[in-house]
């Protein structure tokens, strides 16, 4: 009889090897005191209900601090061998496998000056080498889409784009940048890179739970070093069940190195940028989904222009042939007012952008996040107007540098309006504008 009953029970619930996760229990228990309202008292098996709710809540709250500290301590001192930790799960949840296409849709918040147009940035990453990617919805340098390939998989976390292309809808061209960026620096469109980097390096710790728009989340605090060696703090919130990202909050931010590599202020001050995820999902590697990661596949009949360095800038903004042969000549050509201290640029930059808007420009944005230059589009003018700041004659005197100008022979109303705006908004900071 015993044997047959054993067989029956084995078949009903066969032995498995479930992964324990005590750390998760501690975190859950610590920050959800209201859950103690649904408890079972000692000595009354099977009794469910809401007895002694207040007493238990008090007890739970008292214990919460201890348990939070315990959870943090356990994370630090005891890498469990019984299965992946929460941090390992959080890392795995945001790292695509080779058979997956990662898709995310996120917005960037604050400051308002560079939020515009960045509420719905979409990013597709092919998990398989060479990990092609495409980003849309982040208009920069006249490009509305960016793409290329990320570094090898092993570099995830410190990745650097190994091939970079931009799609310009105005000219319907794809500009392929050749040797245009410093390969030693990350060129990253993925805001989760900083999170993966910290989770992999062990500079992240579990910091309890939170509720975001009614969604239960785990809170992870991490520290990371930027390109300048400055340390910054990042608050990362992920869904408590799926570990998919909800929000990334970068604190003490100085700026973004193009495009989304954070630079921190060493003194701890600075501003906060928040990435908020509207979608995060893994897609099958179907032909259609893989095409989403490929900027050329999205624009199959588009001319591809290969360029490098400053020529790319010229091509972007003056595709019809206006030409400056080198950055050095451009600086000579555009040399103008001296004496504006670098620290004043950040004060002047938003004034110029505000001025541009007041003069009728639409879509006025910095030409990359945190930049002091900008891009403005005037209704009726085919190409956007861009300006940046350059050091003139090697004397480290930054001046606003118009990267494109409307042709002088164009006397149409929109072109006149644009020239007027440029002169009104930039001339106060320059002796002379040439083009």
């Amino acid at each position: 009889v015993t044997t047959s009953v054993s067989e029956v029970l084995d078949r009903i619930a066969p032995e498995t090897d479930p992964t324990p996760d005590w750390e998760w229990v501690l975190v859950q228990a610590a920050v959800e005191p209201e859950r103690a309202g649904h408890v079972y008292e000692t000595g009354e098996p099977g009794s469910s209900g809401l007895r002694n709710v207040r007493r238990l809540r008090r007890l739970t709250l008292l214990g919460a601090g201890i348990v939070v500290a315990a959870a943090v301590a356990l994370v630090v001192v005891a890498p469990w061998k019984g299965g992946p930790t929460i941090l390992q799960r959080a890392n795995a949840a945001i790292s695509p496998a080779a058979s997956q296409v990662l898709y995310m849709n996120f917005g960037i918040c604050c400051p308002e000056a560079w939020r515009s147009g960045r509420d719905h940035i979409q990013l597709w990453i092919d998990g398989a080498a060479p990990r092609s990617f495409r980003s849309a919805g982040q208009p920069m340098f006249g490009y509305t889409e960016h793409g290329g390939t990320l570094g090898p998989e092993t570099s995830l976390g410190t990745q650097s784009v190994t091939s970079y292309l931009g799609y310009n809808p105005t000219t319907n061209t794809i500009v392929e940048h050749v040797r245009s960026f410093d390969r030693s620096k990350p060129l990253d469109f993925d805001p989760l890179t900083v999170v993966r980097k910290a989770l992999t390096a062990g500079t992240a710790h579990l910091d309890g739970r939170a509720v975001i728009d009614g969604e239960q989340a785990i809170k992870i605090t991490l520290t990371t070093r930027d390109l300048n060696g400055h340390t910054g703090t990042v608050i990362y919130l992920a869904n408590a069940k799926t570990y998919y990202p909800i929000e990334i909050k970068l604190q003490s931010l100085e700026a973004f190195s193009y495009p989304l590599e954070p630079l921190f202020r060493p003194n701890g001050r600075g501003w906060t940028a928040t990435f908020r995820f509207q979608s995060f999902e893994y897609l099958d590697t179907t032909t259609k989904n893989l095409a989403l990661t490929n900027i050329q596949a999205q624009h199959p009949n588009t001319k591809i222009i290969r360029c490098n360095g400053y020529k790319c800038t010229v091509i972007r903004n003056q595709p019809k042939g206006a030409h400056v042969s080198s950055p050095a000549k451009a600086r000579q050509k555009h040399s103008a007012v001296r004496g504006i201290p670098p620290k004043d640029i950040l004060k002047i930059a938003p004034l110029i952008r505000t001025c541009m808007s007041a003069q009728g420009a639409t879509s006025v944005t910095p030409n990359h996040p945190g930049a002091s230059g900008g891009i403005a589009h005037f209704p009726g003018v085919k190409h956007p107007f861009a300006w940046s700041w350059v050091n003139s004659s090697g004397k480290a005197k930054p001046i606003p540098n118009p990267m494109s100008m409307p042709p002088a022979r164009d006397h149409s109303a929109p072109a006149i309006r644009e020239r007027h705006a440029i002169n009104t908004c930039l001339v106060p900071y320059r002796n002379k504008l040439t083009h």
């Binding site: 009953v5 078949r11 498995t16 090897d17 479930p18 005590w22 103690a36 079972y40 098996p45």
Partner: protein, 162 residues
């Protein structure tokens, strides 16, 4: 911090020693191993939260087992929302009917006390004392309950087979 909270340490020891057993116990009740794992996790969360109410540290595993059973029942109820208002026996049958229907249905037809006694003995490897604690009965009752359960399973299987 861990050393100053003996009950937490005790719960952690039970968790590490009995996690797999409790998952099997919950699996038998819920009919789904993933739901079972969730139920056990949830049970330990509750246990940690209300550990101050645990009076005897020697009975920690039996105390947690009670919570595991209750959490597994909750899972079954949540899984079959349309079953609200019907007897637990019926809910249990609905909850386990999808997998191994003959065996599960047969075991599900056992009286609840017999069924739980069987599960606790077999899956959790509990002695009679602990089973008695979980079920809230005298130790002497456990032996008879288990005997009746085993016979009941055999009889029910014969019925199902015929």
């Amino acid at each position: 911090v861990r050393a100053t909270d003996d009950q937490l340490v005790g719960l952690e020891q039970v968790y590490r020693a009995r996690f797999g057993q409790f998952v099997r116990l919950a699996h038998a009740i819920t009919g789904d191993v993933e739901l079972a794992r969730d139920a056990v996790q949830e049970a330990f969360v509750r246990a940690v939260q209300v550990r101050a109410t645990l009076r005897e540290s020697s009975a920690t595993d039996a105390w947690v087992a009670q919570i595991v059973v209750n959490c597994a029942r909750d899972v079954v109820r949540e899984r079959v929302p349309e079953a609200n208002g019907v007897a637990f026996e019926e809910v249990f049958e609905i909850g386990v009917a999808a997998d191994e229907p003959r065996l599960r249905a047969a075991v599900a037809r056992l009286p609840e006390r017999q069924r739980l006694a069987l599960f606790l003995r077999y899956y959790a490897d509990f002695d009679y004392g602990r089973i008695a604690t979980v079920l809230g009965v005298e130790v002497g009752t456990v032996s008879a309950t288990l005997h009746a359960a085993r016979l009941g399973v055999v009889r029910l299987l014969e019925e199902v087979g015929s």
